[in-house]
């Protein structure tokens, strides 16, 4: 009895000791005493460098990184942020791609007066500025901005004596040449001209290049059922029907890595996998069509919730997050794209990218970023279900080969109705 009591008491004391020492969340802070604790939600590996730099500059502030897995389209991070905020936890900096929706719903602080004075704002591309602006107001900063660009399989192009395409017409010519030559891989798999995998974030290039638009400038009405857009969806569907592109089946880059795709619109993140797959490939900006060669601008935003009790400190953290020092630490390991597009010309950054083999890919991305814009239907901020309606319609057109006009008309009605209802509320 005495031994059992002693054991129980010892266990309880040990548990109490562990609980009192173990912090509730991941923290990259140093050991000094702090007056303020800043709660930052994001990925630890993306925030560790900025935290280290920030805590050196501001020793009275401790940064508490609340690690959040990204999930599909950032869903897990968003869920975590909302659950934390709705349970009363004060968050000071949060990571998003839904910044416009949050700002519209009153979650984020208006930072227009501050961010417009920062030097980086002048260097931001128009696409980056679109990402952080809602109704003329700025709600945060944007980092890790990336785009798709054109990877081309040199071996396939060599077989049909073609050069990397510069226009949409070149793409069509390449498609016809591949089909006429009945090309197959060494394992007997069919070879295609291009692929439409990647969801609407990747396929919107084809709509814009063909002269279409997804939304009116006010974002109140969708144009996915307009004649130019229908022509663009038909253009994509014809590639699939003619055997010049595979049906979209969610296997993403598998066909490219199999050596089956001549022209693959994908981003810098595909570089290492392509090298590992021993593909003989090159990279260039997207071909130009009647509507240009704009692509969707990727990346994330960081903003400050209105509930934050430490807005000044949070603003300083945002400054550090987009500083050259933070970007350089990230890019040494090839982890991120610089927030400031001017840094693409920095010799130290170029040397760091060359060291990890990414220099060519980053230089192509630098050029493509000049032709990148905000994509409403990736993260619609008025009627969120619009993204689902559009993606389902796109899937119906590119997988089920449904009639583009009828399918997009139904989706457009759903989206327009949803926007109208949400705008009233």
């Amino acid at each position: 009895m005495k031994n059992r009591f002693s054991l129980a008491a010892a266990t309880a004391l040990t548990a109490l000791g562990v609980l009192s020492v173990t912090p509730a969340n991941t923290s990259a802070s140093s050991a000094h005493a702090a007056n303020v604790t800043l709660n930052v939600v994001g990925a630890t590996n993306e925030l560790t460098n900025a935290t280290r730099i920030y805590e050196k500059l501001y020793p009275n502030v401790k940064v508490n990184i609340i690690n959040a897995n990204w999930g599909i389209g950032g869903k897990d991070t968003r869920d975590k942020e909302l659950i934390l905020m709705s349970s009363g936890q004060s968050l000071d900096v949060i990571k998003m791609v839904w910044g416009k929706a949050f700002f519209r719903q009153g979650v984020l602080t208006d930072l227009t007066n501050q961010i417009k004075t920062w030097p980086i704002y002048k260097d931001y591309t128009s696409g980056q500025k679109q990402r952080i602006t809602y109704n003329g107001k700025i709600y945060g900063i944007t980092t890790s901005n990336n785009t798709i660009f054109m990877y081309y399989n040199k071996a396939i192009l060599a077989k049909i004596h073609a050069q990397p395409p510069k226009t949409l017409r070149d793409v069509s010519n390449i498609a016809r040449a591949i089909k006429a030559a009945h090309l197959k891989t060494a394992k007997g798999l069919p070879i295609f001209a291009t692929s439409f995998e990647g969801g609407n974030w990747a396929t919107d290039y084809w709509v814009w290049a063909n002269g279409g638009e997804l939304m009116t400038p006010s974002y109140k009405t969708t144009l996915i059922d307009s004649p130019k857009d229908i022509a663009a969806y038909t253009y994509m569907q014809d590639f699939i029907k003619n055997g010049e592109a595979p049906k979209v089946d969610g296997t993403y880059d598998a066909a490219w890595l199999n050596g089956q795709i001549a022209l693959m619109p994908i981003g810098v993140w595909e570089y290492n996998a392509s090298v590992t797959a021993k593909l003989n490939f090159g990279m260039t900006t997207m071909p130009v069509g009647p509507g240009g060669n704009d692509v969707s601008i990727g990346g994330v935003e960081y903003g400050i919730p209105v509930q934050s009790a430490h807005k000044t400190e949070a603003l300083n953290f945002l400054k550090v997050l987009i500083s050259r020092a933070t970007d350089f630490q990230q890019d040494q390991t090839g982890q991120g794209e610089p927030a400031n597009p001017a840094l693409y010309n920095d010799p130290q950054f170029r040397a760091a990218w060359k060291k990890v083999g990414l220099l060519n890919a980053m230089m192509v991305q630098q050029q493509q970023l000049k032709h990148a814009r905000y994509n409403f239907l990736e993260a619609p901020f008025i009627f969120p279900d619009g993204a689902t309606a559009y993606n389902n319609a796109l899937s119906a057109v590119l997988t089920n080969l449904a009639n583009p006009a009828a399918t997009m008309k139904t989706a457009a009605q759903t989206i327009d109705q949803g926007i109208a209802t949400a705008s009233q509320g």
């Binding site: 979650v107 798999l189 979209v248 089956q260 997988t399």
Partner: protein, 319 residues
């Protein structure tokens, strides 16, 4: 100060407490320490179920009649009466998702039971390497669903490994991920692969507890292997089999990560299960928790009715 009396008081208090427990123990004919342990365990279980099951259930019942969202910390929640129910009854997408869930249940439960039984019988009769084989088979259940589902997706792609074998046989490639029906079949296959091992363990335990004398007697009476299996083994395995059918039905109706990993609800949302749709509505960009609560309630009713019918038809409690 009477030190003798002071020293005696703690002992007296312990004596009184021991007395109460002792009385309970005498009434229940068990030792006081057993009463303490069982009482503590029941209390802990009560707290656990209250916090993680009963309270959320009651909260769900309230939210069904409101427009509660995850942004309700900024915007007030309003009572909307039966509006969410009205939306549900007119929501064709929700109805289609329910149908998909039924298809998954009807298709996967018989397969799971058959595969689990086959694996259990095989492992029961194997004499060499049984522990290792048991672990290897059970590993499929232990693997993270999303990770293994993503691998499944790559295997089932148009130019994935499975289709390369199909193509080598001269057959047309199977549209696992580009056709709604084939997509549902892919999800069922993955669900069976992922979960059969768990039920194999249940049935293996059932086989181990069988009365060997009955099997021997049947053998002596001239019954063949199939007759022994049908008339001796199956009846003795009945409780375990019923458990497998009921629990796998509940799991199949609640199917979610398998859909996310293999098809992401596609193509064009046609393979979404009701759980997938509910979580999308409740935690997606809309975060319509009030409406998602209605879907959750109806899913609960459906699962409850089906489970009760199964138990009644099979006379589960009579065993």
């Amino acid at each position: 100060m009477d030190m003798g009396n002071m020293a005696a008081r703690p002992l007296a208090r312990r004596g009184r407490a021991a007395g109460r427990l002792g009385r309970m123990g005498r009434i229940m004919k068990v030792a006081p320490s057993t009463v303490l342990f069982v009482g503590g365990a029941v209390l802990l279980a009560g707290v656990y179920f209250t916090v993680f099951f009963y309270y959320p259930f009651v909260q769900n019942l309230y939210w069904m009649f409101t427009d509660f969202t995850l942004l309700s910390f900024l915007h007030p929640t309003h009572w909307v009466g039966l509006a969410n129910f009205n939306t549900f009854f007119h929501d064709a997408t929700a109805h289609q998702a329910f149908v998909s869930s039924f298809i998954y249940a009807v298709a996967s439960v018989p397969l799971i039971v058959v595969v689990a039984l086959a694996l259990a019988l095989a492992l029961h009769h194997i004499t060499v390497g049984k522990p290792l084989l048991r672990v290897l088979v059970f590993l499929t259940y232990l693997m993270p669903t999303i990770a293994s589902g993503l691998v499944f997706r790559q295997l089932l792609g148009q130019y994935g490994l499975i289709n390369s074998y199909v193509s080598d046989l001269g057959l047309p490639r199977l549209p696992w991920l580009t056709d709604a029906l084939w997509g549902q079949a892919a999800i069922v296959l993955f669900f069976v692969w992922k979960n059969a091992a768990f039920f194999m363990i249940i049935l293996l335990a059932g086989l181990s507890n069988m009365n060997a004398a009955l099997t021997e007697a049947a053998s002596i009476d001239g019954a063949g292997p199939i007759q022994r299996f049908l008339n001796v083994t199956i009846p003795q395995l009945r409780p375990a089999l019923l458990y497998c059918v009921i629990v796998s039905t509940i799991n199949a109706l609640n199917i979610y990560p398998e859909v996310v990993a293999v098809t992401q609800g596609g193509p064009a949302g046609q393979t979404r299960s009701i759980m997938y749709y509910m979580l999308d509505e409740g935690f997606g960009m809309n975060s319509k928790v009030g409406y998602a609560s209605v879907i959750a309630f109806f899913l609960f009713i459906v699962v409850l009715v089906i489970t009760l019918v199964q138990m009644r038809v099979t006379r589960f409690y009579e065993d």
